[in-house]
Assembly symmetry: C2
Homo-oligomer: 327 residues x 2
C-alpha cells in the first residue's frame, strides 16, 4: 500500500479510501491511485484489514457429510448466497455427530476468522438444547425451534403430511415409513408428522423402520417390507433410501406402483428418471439458503437477538411410483 501511495503521489490513507470505494476522493486522484494499483499488482491484505476492522467478511459453515443430497445442495446454495452478499464461506466438515465434534468445529471456526456461522444440523446433538459458545452469530439450517439460535428449514412436517395424505387419499389403508437415523432432526420431524397424519386419518400406525439416509439402508428396510404382506404404501424419508426400497421391491418381484406405492423426500434430480419415476417432496434449498444467509448477515450487522424460526413450504411432486392400492 505504501508503494502504491508513493507511486501515485498520495498518502496511504488516500489509497485506503480508494481501495474501499469511499466517496470523498477526487476522480482524478482516484484514477491515479487505481492505475498505480494496477501497475504494482496491489491486493489489499485481508489479515491487516480484518485486524483493524474486526470484520472478516467470512461465514463459517459446519456440515457433516456431503453424501446426502440435502446437505450438498444446502452447502452449495449457502455458498452462492454468501458470495452474492459479499461474503466468503469457510467450510468445516464434522466427522461424528456428537456435540463435542460440533464444538470442536466451532472452535476451529471462531479461531479461524469468521463473522458468523451456519450450522447444517442434520444430526441431533448430544444435548437437547444446543448451546454453543456465545459471541458469534449462528443460524441453524434445520433442527428444532427449541434451541437458542435462529433457525431456517423446510417445513418437514408439512412435507411429510403431504406425502402421507397423498398416499391415504389414493386409498391405501395405511402408510409404512422408512425413517432417517434417529438422531437426525429432519428424520424425526418427518416421522412425527407421518405418525400424526396417520392418526388423524384414523389409520393404523405401523412400526417405523430406520435407515441411514443411504440407498443401502433403504434397501435393507425395503427387504423387510417386501416380505411383509399387506404393505401397499411406503414413505421413505429421503429419495436415496427410496431408491434402495424400490430395488428391494423389484428383487422381491413386487411391482411399483401396482403392488406397492413408494414415495421419497428431497426432490433429487434423478428421482424423475428412476423406474418408475419417484413421487417425492421437493425442498427449495435455494430459498432456504437465501434466508439463512440474510438472517445471519442481519445478526452480524445489528448484533441483534436471534430466536426466530423460519419454515419454508416444500412441494409434493407426484410421479408414477404412487398409485391406487391393489384390490
Amino acid at each position: 500500500m505504501a508503494d502504491v501511495a508513493a507511486l501515485a503521489g498520495v498518502s496511504n490513507q488516500t489509497v485506503s479510501r480508494v481501495a474501499n470505494n469511499r466517496s470523498n476522493v477526487e476522480e482524478e486522484t482516484r484514477q491515479r491511485v487505481l492505475s498505480a494499483m494496477r501497475v504494482l499488482g496491489y491486493r489489499p491484505n485481508t489479515a491487516a484489514r480484518a485486524l483493524v476492522t474486526g470484520q472478516f467478511r467470512t461465514l463459517g459453515l459446519i456440515s457433516s457429510t456431503l453424501g446426502t443430497f440435502g446437505n450438498a445442495r444446502t452447502v452449495e446454495a449457502v455458498t452462492r448466497a454468501a458470495q452474492r452478499a459479499g461474503y466468503t464461506v469457510n467450510m468445516v466438515a464434522v466427522e461424528t455427530r456428537t456435540e463435542r465434534a460440533v464444538h470442536e468445529a466451532f472452535g476451529r471456526l471462531t479461531m479461524q476468522a469468521v463473522d458468523g456461522i451456519v450450522l447444517i444440523e442434520a444430526q441431533i446433538l448430544d444435548t437437547p438444547a444446543l448451546r454453543l459458545p456465545p459471541g458469534v452469530p449462528v443460524v441453524v439450517a434445520g433442527g428444532d425451534a427449541g434451541h437458542h439460535h435462529a433457525m431456517v428449514d423446510t417445513d418437514q412436517a408439512l412435507g411429510a403430511r403431504l406425502v402421507t395424505r397423498h398416499l391415504l387419499d389414493l386409498g391405501h389403508e395405511t402408510v409404512w415409513h422408512v425413517s432417517g437415523p434417529e438422531d437426525s432432526y429432519a428424520a424425526r420431524h418427518r416421522a412425527a408428522s407421518w405418525h400424526a397424519t396417520l392418526k388423524e386419518a384414523g389409520a393404523a400406525v405401523p412400526p417405523v423402520l430406520y435407515g441411514d439416509w443411504s440407498a443401502a439402508g433403504g434397501h435393507e428396510a425395503g427387504r423387510h417390507l417386501a416380505r411383509r404382506p399387506g404393505v401397499t404404501a411406503i414413505f421413505a424419508a429421503n429419495d436415496q433410501m427410496a431408491i434402495g426400497v424400490l430395488r428391494a421391491l423389484a428383487e422381491a418381484g413386487r411391482r411399483v406402483p401396482g403392488d406397492v406405492s413408494v414415495a421419497g423426500f428431497d426432490g433429487l434430480d434423478e428421482a424423475a428418471f428412476l423406474s418408475p419415476p419417484l413421487t417425492t417432496v421437493r425442498q427449495d434449498f435455494d430459498v432456504v439458503a437465501e434466508r439463512i444467509v440474510s438472517l445471519l448477515i442481519d445478526q452480524i450487522a445489528t448484533g441483534a437477538a436471534p430466536g426466530s424460526a423460519v419454515l419454508l413450504p416444500p412441494r409434493l411432486v407426484v410421479r408414477e411410483s404412487t398409485g391406487t392400492p391393489p384390490r
Copy 2:
C-alpha cells in the same frame, strides 16, 4: 493476550509461546498461562497472527456445481484432508465456466486469505492453457496435464478403457457413448479413451452423444439410442446420465441387459440399487483429495515448482446392467 499475560503474571511473549506450543516454557508457567486463557476465554486472533506470519492456514477451493456427484465428493474429501493437515477450507462457487469467472473466483480468494488454491476443474476454460496469476500455489483436480499447475486426477482414460473393453469382451460389436459436456476435461478424456479403445479393437466408432452430466441429459440421449436399432451397449460418462439412459430404455421397452447393456462412471453409491444395478467405474475420491492436499501443502511449504501430474487408477465394478448382447 495482554489480559492473559497480566492475569498469569507473565509477558505477552510467554503467552504467545504457550499458545503456539513452544517447548521452551516451564511446565508450571505453561499451566498458569493455560488456566488464565481458560478463565478469560482467550482465543488467538487469526488475523493478527496471519498478519505477522504471512500464513493463513487456509486453502481456497474453487468449484462449479456440487450437483454432480464427483464434485461433491471431491469437495468433501478435500475439506477433510485439509482439516487433517491443520488447514481450513475457503470455498468459492463459480457460476459460469469461463476463464473470467475462475479468475474472478481466484481474485476473491487471493484477496481473501489463502495459502494455496485447489481448482476443481470440471470445465475446460476459455484458454487452453490455464494461466492464473502467479504467486499462489495451485493444484488442479482434474484437467489436462498440459497446463502450468500441479494436477491430480483419477486416470479417466484407464477407467473409460476398462468399461469399453468390458463391454467388447462381453461380445458387443461396438459401444455407444453418452459423453459429458464438451467443455469438460473429464468428459473429453473419457470420450477419447473410449474412442481409442474401440479403434484398437477394430470396432466401428459410432457418433458421440452429448449430455450435461445430469439424468435429464442422459434421458434425452437415451431416447435417441433406444430408437436406434443395433445399439446393444452404452457407456454413459457418469452414473447420473446412466440413470437417465436406463429410464429411456425402460420407456422404450428395451430390456437391460437383455437387449442393451449400460455402464456408467463415478461409483455413485446409489448405482448398486438401480434396476438393474449399474456397472460403473469407481473413482477413489478420498485418495485423490489426499494427494491434492499434500501436494498443495508441499508447494506452500517449499515454494517449490509445481508441474507434476498424478493419476490414480479407478476400478471397474461389474454389476447386472451389463451382459452379453442379444443373439
